[in-house]
């Protein structure tokens, strides 16, 4: 894992005031990177003052975004990397996860709550991100997909069903 050295400015659309800490990492397209990203999310969420329940929700949502980037986006390609950016401040946490894949259109993922999809073995990652975060936005970049996850402190988002 390396500190993010790329240019290109801040791709996240700041919807919370994050005047505090901003850190970026580029990582290989591996499961280790997924686990590391999840650990970082949990640590940053704790430092940002989120309670235990919210920390777990944030960590899981960020893990799902990292899985999408490494697995569905980059297909574990050793030539491709993911970039994860954490911005934390008094009012919340913004996490962006960017891959170098061909671009993902989340609206094409079938609704996992539809009766005909309940027994599918996959397709719940985006749903869990939306259930556990206050905002989830996808953006096609060149190359790849960037997902922005926003969690505001004090927002009541418990187990909303997308």
């Amino acid at each position: 894992m390396r500190p993010y050295a790329g240019a290109g400015g801040n791709a996240a659309i700041a919807t919370v005031n994050t005047t505090g800490k901003r850190v970026s990492y580029t990582m290989d397209s591996t499961l280790d990177s997924v686990n590391r990203t999840e650990e970082l999310a949990d640590k940053l969420a704790q430092e940002s003052g989120f309670d235990e329940d919210d920390r777990q929700r944030i960590a899981l949502a960020v893990r799902e975004a990292a899985v999408n980037a490494v697995y569905h986006g980059n297909h574990y390609d050793p030539e491709k990397e993911i970039t994860v950016t954490f911005e934390s401040g008094e009012s919340g946490l913004i996490v962006t996860v960017r891959d170098q894949g061909t671009g993902m259109v989340p609206d094409e993922v079938p609704d996992p709550l539809a009766p005909e999809n309940l027994l599918r073995g996959s397709g719940r990652g985006v749903f869990l991100m939306r259930a556990f975060m206050d905002e989830v936005r996808f953006r096609i970049v060149d190359p790849g997909t960037e997902v922005t996850l926003v969690k505001r402190r004090g927002a009541a988002t418990d187990h909303k069903e997308a």
């Binding site: 499961l31 997924v34 777990q56 899981l60 893990r63 799902e64 899985v67 697995y71 996992p112 709550l113 309940l118 027994l119 599918r120 073995g121 996959s122 397709g123 719940r124 990652g125 749903f127 869990l128 259930a131 187990h159 069903e161």
Partner: protein, 117 residues
């Protein structure tokens, strides 16, 4: 913490005691292999004890669903035992709590296999 799985027999029911994390990668693979081995030995009454499962991601949820459908398609039955609050909440929001037969007492869970026929 990586996932561990051990099996034991109680009154014709195979109880799989799982511990750790069921996530993309090792955890999901261990669960899949365990179910495959049991079905290969015609052990089709399976009770997954999730009491020591600390964490499940969407891949792990998918693996649970796949295990359920695989066992049912082969004429067996798969039930869940001892959900932690985290796992319970995940199954609730994904509407899978209504799909799985979930018990919190091992004796009654084992008994339910025989009464279900």
């Amino acid at each position: 913490m990586t996932m561990k799985a051990s099996t034991r027999q109680v009154d014709g029911v195979t109880i799989v005691d799982l511990s750790g994390r069921i996530t993309l990668g090792e955890g999901s693979v261990i669960l899949r292999d365990t179910i495959r081995d049991l079905l290969g030995k015609s052990q089709k009454k399976i009770l997954l004890n999730l009491g020591d499962v600390s964490y499940i991601d969407s891949s792990g949820i998918g693996e649970l669903v796949s295990a359920y459908t695989t066992v049912r398609n082969q004429g067996g039955d798969l039930r869940l035992l001892n959900l932690t609050k985290k796992v319970h909440d995940l199954l609730q929001i994904t509407k899978l709590y209504t799909v799985f037969d979930v018990k919190d007492d091992e004796t009654s869970a084992v008994k339910a296999f025989s009464t279900a026929g």
